[in-house]
Symmetry: C2
Subunit: 185 residues, 2 copies
């Protein structure tokens, strides 16, 4: 039995993308999340990217791409990767010290939406709407219709449809090129 597990961020995340410049507007932030998704596809991964930022400074705290297939773990959606690495960066199981936001290229699936509740995030910013992922063949699971209200009730604000068309194009391109739809039913 394995006693230790390692999750590794891909090298290209640090060499091909600028993770050091602060991002101020939601559009600038979403551009980076979309770029991560595009680069991930080019490197054989799924068409999803996410970042955690310090809302007050615009600093990127952590970045995540979908690593499910390359790292052999169904949990490793882009949002989960970004949350885990952001908490590692802060050396805390919660991002609630300060104002942190998750910017994701695509509306979170049922798993990632659940994870957001316990992360300490205060804000969630989404690109492509749910329908764009599902139209491309991804199953997003039995998500609550009241998800925005449920997050708001726990102090997590949602802004969605940011650069939705550009974000959705990554999904459509992936489907058109015959990308793997792991675990899709």
């Amino acid at each position: 039995m394995e006693r230790r597990l390692t999750w590794q961020l891909p090298h290209w995340l640090f060499t091909e993308l600028d993770l050091t410049s602060p991002r101020r507007s939601d559009e600038e932030k979403m551009e980076l999340a979309i770029d991560i998704a595009r680069h991930n596809v080019q490197h054989g991964g799924g068409p999803f990217g996410a970042i955690v930022l310090d809302t007050d400074t615009g600093r990127v705290v952590a970045a995540g791409a979908n690593l499910v297939v390359p790292q052999g773990c169904s949990l490793l959606h882009a949002e989960i990767v970004a949350i885990a690495f952001a908490q590692a960066e802060l050396r805390s199981y919660t991002l609630a010290a300060g104002n942190h936001e998750l910017v994701t290229s695509s509306e979170p699936c049922v798993q990632c939406l659940g994870a957001v509740h316990w992360s300490g995030l205060r804000r969630l910013v989404c690109g492509a709407p749910l329908g764009a992922a599902e139209a491309s063949g991804f199953d997003e699971g039995p998500r609550s219709a009241a998800w925005k209200e449920e997050l708001a009730a726990r102090g997590i604000a949602v802004t969605d449809h940011v650069l939705a068309e550009r974000a959705g194009a990554v999904l459509a391109d992936y489907a058109r090129s015959g990308g793997v739809l792991y675990n899709a039913r």
Copy 2:
């Protein structure tokens, strides 16, 4: 920025518990999950334990305890730990090759329930009902009322209330002893 994250299973999981004997009945399986929860509390962790088993042989594929506080990551509920280590054991992002089941000492929260959908598990066995965790102060999140039907629709069968009283006692004892309720609101 961190580029690598390592999760470590606690040493006592292998020295204080028997993870090698096959478990046949749901009660035997749940006893182990409950024992993990009890031992985790003794070692300063949260009152939750889970195992992934090969349903056909009763072999324990992986074990998980709640490691949120000691390892500084909100994702690391017992179920998530067990799923991640089981997939590492199988070297696959899905447990769907073969019949695998997750046995958890407490009904999964909104995050873990979501994760089960993409894990490749075929069966979920729960001990303490949701109310027991919530009565002890844990917030389980906006879970769907139709969660069993939603899992069944994806080929994941649910058996719940297995040794519910014994499983619930771990939560009640934890609350009574003043255990940390991280992220509880």
